[in-house]
């Protein structure tokens, strides 16, 4: 058996917002996060959104996922927070989570892009990060929105 090296991919923002959704940990660029609000302050909205926030005169529909990225019709008991995020195209929405932390990317962190053999249509998974002995899934607002739209159609919304 042989020892080989392969190309590593390092990238993304220097600072990340690290969301916990059940056992899943998801990171998004911190520059896309405009605020973190208490979910209990959301008002009702049309499904598949589980609620909405009005923030600086802009509506942010709120979406809830399972740890497997399945779109939920209502929040889970552990989801107390919602991050408000804005994508490159200007898309604005909010995502429920159990907890939010800030994470600074350092050069000694191990990143890998999601390989071709794991990519499905509309999947929001962009990269994997090994941090704190865990797998962190790196994504961004635009990729999450693409997935929400795809999953919403699957649910007939």
């Amino acid at each position: 058996m042989n020892n080989y090296t392969s190309q590593k991919s390092i990238g993304y923002d220097a600072k990340l917002s690290l969301l916990s959704i059940g056992e899943r940990r998801i990171a998004v660029p911190q520059k896309e996060v405009v605020n973190v609000l208490l979910l209990q302050d959301a008002v009702p909205a049309k499904p598949p959104a589980v609620g909405q926030f009005e923030y600086h005169e802009t509506i942010f529909p709120v979406y809830a996922f399972t740890a497997q990225f399945e779109l939920l019709a209502s929040t889970t008991s552990s989801q107390h927070y919602a991050i408000l995020i804005v994508g490159d195209s200007g898309v604005r929405f909010s995502l429920c989570c159990d907890n939010v932390e800030s994470l600074s990317v350092t050069t000694d962190m191990d990143w890998d892009r999601v390989p071709d053999c794991m990519r499905l249509t509309a999947s929001p998974l962009e990269s994997f990060l090994y941090y704190d002995n865990q797998l962190i899934i790196m994504t961004d607002a635009q990729s999450l929105w693409r997935w929400i739209e795809h999953a919403g159609k699957q649910h007939g919304a």
Binding site: F69, D112, P115, C117, M118, R119, L125, L135
Partner: protein, 169 residues
């Protein structure tokens, strides 16, 4: 004295999780591990449900047995890490295959060449480069680059929408 011109090659014979045998070239096998850190990943093809954190990088884990038997579970404990190139003179890529047993080093000669199992012609026409007879079984030699390609995922997805067909392994 008779001199044989028969070509002989070293290879690794692997038994996937779920019990399906296949072979790869001698240089493709990098490491066999029974203690890799394995992480399930959502929103992935059914045959590629997890990654292994290996030598400070994530490598996808192919649950090869699931291509032939959807009942094969994702309780993966053993992996074989393989190296492959998508093009000549490009960096090596790595992938892990879920295994049930440790790899077996074998020597194959041209005389053992035989036709591919029918299931490859029906379901996975480009997945095996060739095959050979070994221990009363037909062992496919896999094209690992194709197994790990976007083209293979696309083909699987399009077949799913068309409905599944073809015989079992």
């Amino acid at each position: 004295m008779q001199v044989s011109n028969m070509a002989r090659s070293k290879a690794w014979m692997l038994t996937s999780h779920g019990g399906f045998s296949f072979a790869v070239g001698e240089l493709a096998m990098v490491e066999y591990s029974i203690e890799a850190e394995i992480f399930p990943v959502p929103l992935t093809p059914k045959h590629c449900p997890a990654v292994a954190y290996w030598r400070r990088r994530f490598v996808p884990i192919i649950n090869y047995g699931k291509l032939f038997d959807p009942q094969v579970n994702d309780d993966i404990r053993q992996i074989g890490v393989l190296a492959y190139q998508t093009q000549p003179h490009t960096p090596l890529q790595h992938v892990a295959i879920a295994l049930d047993h440790s790899p077996r080093s074998i020597i194959v000669d041209d005389e053992q060449a035989c036709e591919l199992p029918m299931v490859f012609a029906y379901r996975y026409p480009d997945l095996a480069i060739s095959s050979f007879a070994f221990d009363d079984k037909t062992i496919p030699i896999l094209d690992i680059g194709y197994l790990c390609s976007a083209a293979f995922v696309t083909r699987q997805s399009s077949k799913k929408t068309q409905g599944r067909s073809g015989p079992g392994h």
